[in-house]
């Protein structure tokens, strides 16, 4: 193996790109879960976002329209989940799984005609001065706009949850829906909005894969990214900035693993390829045991159905 063949600046630069899909999906799921809803359909919403974003992007030749379409598709799919869990009171775990299975099928169906088609060129932003700083410039300041949008979303979610009344109400609904209902808050409506936000973010994350990171459409291309995003929320103890840290750590790992493959490390490719999943499991174990006890920070009503009968 030849480690010197790895360009470390390039590696660090691609880290942010590798992390963006799960960052987007993760922060969306965080909002959903803070409202007390566990949506295990992230993978299904991501993959649907990936194909819808890709299809619309290619058809209109506009990445922006592609991303918008992906967000709408993700949100639409999440509303299916919302309808079932919030109005028809179905089990959230089972419904989330159904969403993933359905999303995988639906995306493959839509994507029939887009296999092997070349994707768009998404422009990199050039920020005067900043982008030209040696080393730091290429690592931090020469990416496409979505990378910065995703960071902006994290900051927005953090500020909203922490400082605004809307954020307070969202947290209240996730902590005790009966009390929130007794105070006159519309639990179901608030949760639906949180679910839709989660869906839109997952859709964006998927579209980032198909429009920027890969960029083309292949069936099942999310390859578990949605599940990793779910794990990321646990890793982050339901705190927005920690999602950012987690996503970038994970992005770094993915990129390193790919670089090691390319550098010809004397380990079969498959074992390197499984490392992100193993590391995710390891992180879950560390976070849920010992002093970390991530689940202590979990919203109290996570996964419970609300029915205002009494």
């Amino acid at each position: 193996m030849d480690l010197s063949s790895i360009n470390w600046i390039l590696l660090l630069a691609s880290l942010m790109v590798a992390a963006t899909p799960i960052l987007l999906a993760g922060v969306g799921e965080l909002v959903t879960e803070r409202a007390g809803v566990l949506n295990l359909g992230v993978e299904g919403m991501m993959i649907t976002g990936a194909i819808c974003g890709f299809a619309i992007g290619v058809e209109t030749n506009s990445a922006i329209l592609g991303f918008v379409a992906a967000a709408l598709a993700g949100a639409a799919l999440s509303m299916l989940f919302g309808l079932l869990t919030q109005y028809l009171l179905s089990n959230q775990v089972a419904t989330g799984l159904a969403l993933t299975l359905f999303g995988l099928g639906l995306s493959a169906l839509i994507g029939q005609g887009y296999i092997g088609i070349k994707g768009l060129e998404v422009a990199k932003i050039h920020i005067p001065l900043l982008s030209d700083i040696p080393v730091l410039g290429p690592i931090l300041f020469r990416h496409d706009a979505m990378v910065y949008v995703s960071i902006f979303i994290v900051a927005g979610v953090w500020a909203t949850l922490r400082y605004t009344r809307a954020g307070l109400i969202l947290r209240a609904v996730g902590e005790n829906h009966d009390a929130a209902h007794a105070l006159g808050y519309k639990v179901v409506r608030i949760r639906l909005m949180a679910i839709a936000f989660g869906g839109a973010c997952a859709g964006l994350g998927g579209a980032y894969l198909s429009l920027v990171r890969v960029p083309q459409w292949t069936e099942g291309m999310t390859a578990g990214a949605g599940w990793i995003a779910l794990a990321l929320v646990v890793f982050a103890s339901w705190k927005p900035w920690r999602i950012l840290i987690g996503a970038y750590l994970f992005g770094g790992l993915t990129v390193l693993q790919l670089n090691l493959q390319a550098a010809g490390m004397k380990v079969p490719v498959e074992y390197l390829a499984m490392s992100p999943y193993l590391v995710t499991i390891l992180v879950l174990v560390i976070m849920s045991s010992g002093r970390g006890r991530a689940h202590l920070n979990a919203p109290a009503e996570l996964g419970r159905s609300f029915h205002a009968s009494s």
Binding site: A98, L104, E270, V285, S289
Partner: protein, 360 residues
């Protein structure tokens, strides 16, 4: 205004009617989907649901029905135990793969022996392979309270990579040139899991599935363990009060579901599939989740649901061949079925009341 009102006692009638209703709704929605794809919806539904059983070429399809239903039922029965107890093993696909790999590995270690003990040893190894793979999320849950949903699922991706590594490396057929993959186990007499009655598709895996259904039925309806499984799923605190040991329950349910998924993988690799290849797995582990819910987590229900789901696979293939309906449409169709099922499920626990507006 429509209002939901909780029933004092869950409705027995709706518990068994909802799956039928869900299937009917899925046929309607699926028909719409096929129409959108430019296909004749009635013809498509007939091709999927009618032709394989009663159509012209049914003699061929009928055998396939059991071949497909066997692994689905076997896996779903195991999953249902866990789901009933509130233990969510959704990584059956991974356990299925590992069962096949471990079982095939044990068999191939003795190649080309013709001992009659090889197949039994492989079956045992297959069950153990799936069981051990399921023990990873089980032990992590028990020891560190790690979420078993995420761990069991992430392990599917790990298992897929191991499968690829095996097909390309350790288990690769040394006599083959070209394509990666193990020796064909179905063509090796010592390991072949052949049809027991020609033309029926009945192989050892189907027999195992039927045995599993019977055992699960007795366990759940008659045995204290089954009572405790249901108690833990419905009311964890009451279960603790009733002396149910949650650790033991997690290990038990994960072990059963892992072992059954491993068995399904083993019977598949020694029979219908024949060899470990890069993409040997075909999603049975995930479809079995739908089967488990469609069967109301009840063994007999799962038996029927497994047959129905197998029908969509076979009918789907037929529709692909004759009508050009893409395979993905069938996958979406199956996902839709689970959606409708979960949606109409509300009827068994709630009563729907229609209120006239303005009566205040």
């Amino acid at each position: 205004m429509i209002q939901l009102e909780k029933r004092p006692t869950p409705s027995k009638f709706w518990t068994w009617t909802t799956p039928v209703l869900a299937v009917a709704l899925t046929m309607i929605a699926g028909g719409l989907m096929f129409a959108l794809l430019g296909k004749n919806p009635f013809l498509a539904i007939k091709t999927i649901f009618y032709d394989p059983i009663l159509g012209e070429f049914a003699f061929y399809y009928r055998g396939q029905l059991l071949v497909k239903a066997g692994p689905l039922i076997l896996i779903a029965v195991g999953l249902a135990m866990g789901f009933k107890a509130g233990i969510w093993n959704i990584g059956a696909e991974g356990q299925y793969i590992m069962g096949a790999i471990v079982g095939a590995g044990v068999g191939l270690a003795f190649y080309p022996s013709d001992s009659p003990l090889i197949l039994p040893a492989m079956i045992l190894a297959g069950a153990i392979g799936g069981l051990l793979w399921a023990m990873i999320p089980a032990i992590l849950k028990v020891k560190f309270s790690t979420n078993e949903i995420l761990v069991s699922l992430l392990l599917v991706y790990v298992a897929e990579q191991i499968q690829a590594a095996m097909a390309l490396g350790l288990l690769r057929n040394p006599d083959a040139t070209g394509f990666p993959g193990s020796r064909n186990l179905a063509q090796w007499d010592a390991s072949a899991n052949l049809e027991l009655i020609a033309g029926t598709g009945m192989h050892l895996g189907v027999v195992a599935a039927l045995i599993a259904v019977i055992f699960a039925y007795i366990l759940l309806s008659r045995h204290l363990m089954g009572f405790h499984i249901q108690l833990a799923g419905q009311s964890p605190k009451a279960a603790r009060f009733g002396g149910v040991n949650p650790t033991r329950l997690v290990i038990f349910c994960m072990a059963i579901s892992g072992a059954l998924a491993g068995l399904a993988g083993l019977f598949e690799v020694t029979g219908p599939a024949g060899q470990i290849s890069i993409n040997f797995n075909s999603g049975y582990g995930f479809t079995a989740i739908i089967v488990a819910f469609l069967g109301r987590l009840h063994p007999i229900g799962i038996l029927l649901a497994g047959l129905l789901m197998a029908l969509t696979y076979i009918g789907g293939e037929a529709a692909q061949a004759t009508l050009g309906i893409p395979a993905a449409a069938i996958q979406a169709f199956q996902g839709m079925l689970l959606f409708f099922l979960l949606g109409v499920d509300v009827l068994s626990n709630y009563r729907i009341r229609f209120l006239r507006k303005g009566v205040a």
